[in-house]
């Protein structure tokens, strides 16, 4: 097409601005939400804006962040992983199971050297992810149902290993990464930042990342291009499980204990972070940038609500409403994208 006709087919300015806005709604909406929340809590509570509280927020979202990294891969391929919190819980318990516990802890465990315990824990979460991947891509179970089953399996592994007890010790490396600081910066924040950075690089600049987006955007077209879509989805599920596993180990160190059901709230938090951030539930759109936005929205919200002295039971409802609003915007953004243009 020559320059003249290209100019001719350009919509008027106002119209273009509208389109630009509507296409970036999924990025703009969480950003505005975040700015609004920061502004609101800064005014409502003087203690909110202290430097110490900023580190607080970063630390509080770190475990969620590592889980959300893996979940971003899965949601980008237009699948879902409901087992993340259960896998995190199970992995945290596995690493504690293979660590020497205090004599007061009545768990028939199997103490091993720290590095081996960590490797076994990583192997455990990778195995759970692999089982999910096989169920979804080979057997053809919808990921929603398959990961629901895996959620129960993860909870079962956790329950069997601790049998209602609480373990406190984890390998020294995990203790350091989960609960110590490096030059004043909590290690867990550094690890979360690294996970986010590496995931961003993988998704944006690697071939695998491209496949993730293409499979999520149109799975059949990806397959018809000779892309092994099953492998891509399976890999995303394994990545998700391993991220959850790492988050689980560090989380156990962060909380200072390993027990059943201690990660339960992280399923909703991780999904909320990804979706509030603007990654499309229909796959193929969004990314780590969006997830970071979502994490901050959730982190600021949870932390800020503590600062303004609000009924802690009301907090639960408010979080639910925020998630609902994000879902509405997410679906609406998708409609705006596809509504005003011809399909293939």
């Amino acid at each position: 097409m020559d320059a003249a006709s290209a100019t001719q087919s350009r919509p008027p300015l106002a119209n273009r601005a509208g389109r630009w806005l509507s296409h970036r709604l999924r990025n703009i909406a969480p950003l505005l939400t975040l700015l609004f929340l920061i502004l609101f809590f800064s005014i409502a509570s003087p203690s909110f804006t202290s430097m110490g509280n900023v580190w607080n927020i970063l630390q509080q979202v770190s475990v969620t962040a590592i889980i959300a990294v893996g979940l971003t891969f899965v949601i980008l391929t237009a699948e879902i992983d409901l087992s993340v919190a259960a896998v995190a819980n199970a992995t945290g318990i596995v690493v504690a199971f293979f660590t020497l516990q205090d004599a007061s802890v009545a768990i028939a465990n199997l103490p091993l050297p720290g590095p081996i315990a960590i490797l076994l824990a990583l192997a455990a979460c990778a195995l759970l992810g692999l089982i999910t991947a096989v169920g979804v891509t080979r057997i053809g179970i919808p990921s929603f149902i398959m990961t629901l089953a895996m959620m129960q399996i993860g909870a079962g592994v956790s329950a069997l290993l601790v049998r209602g007890q609480i373990a406190y010790s984890v390998p020294p490396l995990i203790t350091t990464l989960g609960s110590r600081s490096f030059l004043g910066v909590p290690w867990i924040v550094i690890v979360a930042a690294l996970f986010l950075l590496v995931a961003h690089l993988v998704l944006t600049y690697t071939r695998f990342g491209r496949y993730v987006y293409m499979v999520g955007g149109n799975r059949e077209a990806a397959e018809n291009s000779g892309v092994n879509a099953g492998f891509v989805v399976g890999a995303a599920l394994v990545i998700s499980a391993v991220c959850s596993g790492v988050a689980g180990m560090l989380g156990v160190a962060y909380f200072g204990s390993a027990q059943q059901n201690e990660f339960d709230s992280y399923l909703l938090d991780a999904i909320a972070a990804v979706v509030v951030g603007g990654t499309s539930l229909f796959g193929g759109r969004g990314g780590i940038g969006n997830t970071i936005l979502g994490l901050f929205v959730l982190g600021v919200l949870n932390n800020g609500l503590d600062h303004v002295n609000i009924d802690s039971f009301l907090k639960i409802l408010i979080r639910g409403l925020i998630l609902l609003a994000a879902l509405v915007i997410n679906v609406y953004a998708e409609k705006l994208r596809t509504g005003d243009r011809g399909a293939v």
Binding site: Y205, M214, A221, N224, G226, V227, V344
Partner: protein, 499 residues
């Protein structure tokens, strides 16, 4: 015209963004008239019909139904005013019975508010028999042949009281006998005084059934003319493309000479491929640089066969050889590794509307240009080359694919396999729904692929497509190869007769 038109459009215009889809279109539909609409893709026919059917509420100009000015906000409004549309993509609920489909959303109820099944069955049976259709109204609609499903949907539109009915590409999926039956029904409706707008790429069909024909080009209506022996295909094509049809006279309009290249090695061989009930005992060879056509009516099994050739379904029996080597195609990725390439019949199943052109092209060769890191500059350069050589009309390689016209999208789908040519290219309906110019381009691309030594397998329900591309033709009927045409002169009539 003496009679008041049932539908009248005056100065209709419509723009999408900055693109003017319709400019100042006038159209009148008389009672009991069959009005044919022709035009290349993007000429504005579909947009106009969507305005009439209430899909696009915003437009410029005036629309009158029986003299009263109307403006439909939804397709419901159009239906209430007596205008119904049967879309190309049927909206039959396959698991519901025929009767339920006819009465979809308007089931008759008895005095207890329960669905009156008896009334529904009787009503559906009466209605369909008026269409000349004697079928079991309790059967699931999805099990019926596509042509019958279409009539059921037509029945639903009629049942809702439509006086004017828009049919979008109704014959593209039909076999000649099915088309004949549809025309029978249309003539009957016409005799009842109902009006029909008939949109089709099949000019023969248009000329056979229409009383009046209107030609669209670039968003304008070029001409409306009463159909007479003076109006023929050439006349229509001339006005559709605004050039002398004689220059574009394609060789298949007469007969073409098939010739098998004998010295080239066999690139692909299928032996007794069977995947009942879709296809049975299909065997053939394709040589390097040869194009094998597989022709048959909709539902003859060629869609499934094309899937098997790209590893998307595993035939229950039979074997394939690629370059003489036995090949087990366990999936699409395996098929690609073995040297197969595939362009399915639906662009939606092939392209990423939301992604830029270059990503649509590079997706199938990413592993050869990047081991780990993607190289967008390289991808854009490759895409820019294809845009140039294939004449893809797009501002640049970063243009969003969904912004292109259908024909240009199809070229992008082909370009995907040109960067690193495969050994065997399987094309399913490569020119479906494309305009004359774009079809020519695709034929040219396929020819150049053959010259590079690629074996091409073209599967189509359109005889023109097969004839314009193939060196040898297999005819598939109900999943079996019933005829092979090789090394002889063959015309469209021969092909139709064999299928």
């Amino acid at each position: 015209m003496a009679v008041e038109p049932i539908l009248e459009l005056v100065g209709i215009s419509k723009a999408f963004g900055g693109v003017q889809a319709l400019r100042d279109v006038d159209l009148a539909l008389a009672p009991g008239e069959i009005h044919g609409l022709v035009g290349e893709n993007g000429a504005g026919k579909s947009t106009l019909m969507k305005i009439i059917a209430g899909v696009h509420p915003e437009f410029g100009g005036i629309m009158r139904v029986r003299g009263r000015e109307v403006r439909f906000r939804a397709s419901r409004d159009a239906l209430a005013a007596g205008i119904g549309m049967v879309h190309q993509e049927l909206s039959i609920a396959p698991d519901l019975s025929v009767a339920e489909n006819v009465y979809l959303g308007a089931q008759p109820t008895n005095r207890f508010g329960m669905v009156d099944w008896g009334a529904m069955r009787r009503g559906a049976r009466d209605l369909l028999s008026r269409l000349g259709l004697e079928i079991d109204v309790d059967a699931p609609a999805g099990l019926l042949p596509i042509g019958v499903q279409q009539l059921v949907e037509l029945g639903r539109v009629l049942f809702s009281g439509a006086e004017a009915i828009i049919l979008d590409e109704p014959t593209s999926a039909l076999s000649p006998p099915e088309t004949e039956r549809l025309f029978e029904v249309l003539r009957r409706l016409k005799a009842e005084g109902r009006s029909i707008i008939f949109i089709s790429h099949f000019l023969d069909d248009i000329l056979r059934i229409s009383d009046v024909v209107s030609v669209f080009r670039n968003g304008r209506k070029v001409v409306t003319e009463r159909v007479s022996p003076a109006i023929d295909k050439g006349w229509l094509i001339e006005r559709m493309i605004g050039a002398q049809a004689a220059d574009l006279e394609e060789s298949w309009m007469g007969s073409i000479q098939l010739a098998t290249p004998r010295d080239a090695p066999v690139a692909f061989e299928a032996v007794g491929l069977t995947h009942a009930p879709a296809f049975r005992d299909v065997s053939f060879q394709v040589r390097a640089g040869e194009a094998l056509g597989v022709y048959g009516y909709m539902g003859c099994g060629q869609i499934e066969l094309s899937r098997a050739l790209f590893g998307k379904i595993q035939p229950r029996r039979g074997a394939m050889r690629i370059g003489g080597q036995p090949a087990r195609l366990s999936g699409a990725a395996a098929a690609k590794r073995a040297g197969m390439a595939f362009v399915p019949e639906s662009r939606r199943a092939m392209l990423f509307a939301e992604e830029p052109i270059y990503r649509n092209i590079s997706i199938s060769i990413l592993e050869t240009i990047s081991r780990i890191w993607v190289k967008p500059d390289r991808e854009r350069a490759i895409a820019a080359g294809h845009i140039q050589t294939l004449g893809i009309r797009a501002p640049g390689p970063s243009t969003r694919l969904g912004a292109l016209s259908g024909g240009n999208q199809q070229k992008v789908a082909l370009a995907r396999w040109l960067t690193r040519p495969p050994r065997v290219l399987v094309l399913c309906e490569p020119t479906r729904g494309m305009d004359v110019g774009a079809k020519e381009d695709v034929v040219r691309i396929v020819r150049s692929l053959k010259e590079q030594g690629i074996a091409v397998i073209v599967l189509s329900t359109e005889p023109e497509t097969v004839l314009s591309m193939a060196d040898r033709i297999l005819v598939l009927r109900r999943g079996e190869v019933v005829r092979e045409f090789a090394d002889m002169a063959i015309s469209k009539e021969d092909l139709l007769a064999a299928a």
